[in-house]
């Protein structure tokens, strides 16, 4: 299956793309997918992940989700 990976703000700069389709399987977690996509990238404690537009767990399998977004600390307003 393919998942669309979206980046914003500094994660876009760190990863060098704003969206990318990436081959993965349902049992993979966001952390595992990111590790394969960008081995040097460490989300640390501040970058959250959203799966299908909901905040999700880095270590929970993505299932049949179609979208995975990296959410650095937000600063709207």
């Amino acid at each position: 299956m393919k998942i669309k990976i979206l980046t914003f703000a500094q994660t876009r700069t760190q990863l060098g793309f704003d969206e990318k389709d990436f081959e993965c399987h349902a049992g993979e977690t966001p952390r595992e997918i990111l590790r394969r996509l960008a081995p040097q990238f460490d989300p640390g404690k501040t970058i959250r992940v959203a799966v299908n537009q909901e905040y999700a767990d880095w270590d929970q399998p993505v299932g049949n989700a179609s979208e995975l977004a990296l959410i650095p600390p937000v600063s709207g307003g």
Partner: protein
């Protein structure tokens, strides 16, 4: 409770105030305006980006959750994106409620939640 959520790339124009419900006693409006300095540096403005569909979903959930706690009738939320010059609003919120207490409480919590959980970013690449 009705919620109107919008993202715009143009200057924010507050929507016409429609207190059609004749039980509205309090109309509270907040504008968040870009200040001329950020982290001690003079800036021409700020650039905002959003993960729009998720931001919208998050805002709808937050508004529903907060209005269950603070009885309000209607919320308008507008966030401007892209470049916002100093002195112009990046954010506009209007809350209609029967009473001022819930409107003030909801406003404070909605902005706190926006700044904690809604995927909108202030981009600093115009700062330098």
């Amino acid at each position: 409770m009705k919620t109107h959520i919008a993202f715009t790339r143009a200057p924010i124009v507050p929507p016409a105030a429609t207190t059609t419900a004749r039980e509205i006693g309090a109309v509270l409006e907040f504008s968040g305006v870009v200040r001329e300095s950020e982290n001690g540096q003079k800036i021409p403005g700020l650039r905002y980006e959003a993960y729009e569909p998720m931001a919208r979903t998050q805002l709808e959930k937050i508004c529903a959750e907060l209005s269950a706690k603070h009885a309000c009738e209607e919320i308008w939320f507008i966030h401007r994106l892209d470049f916002v010059p100093v002195g112009e609003a990046s954010l506009f919120i209007r809350i209609n409620a029967r009473h001022r207490g819930p409107a003030l409480a909801l406003m404070a919590e909605l902005i706190d939640r926006l700044k904690a959980d809604v995927p909108v970013w202030k981009i600093s690449d115009v700062l330098h």
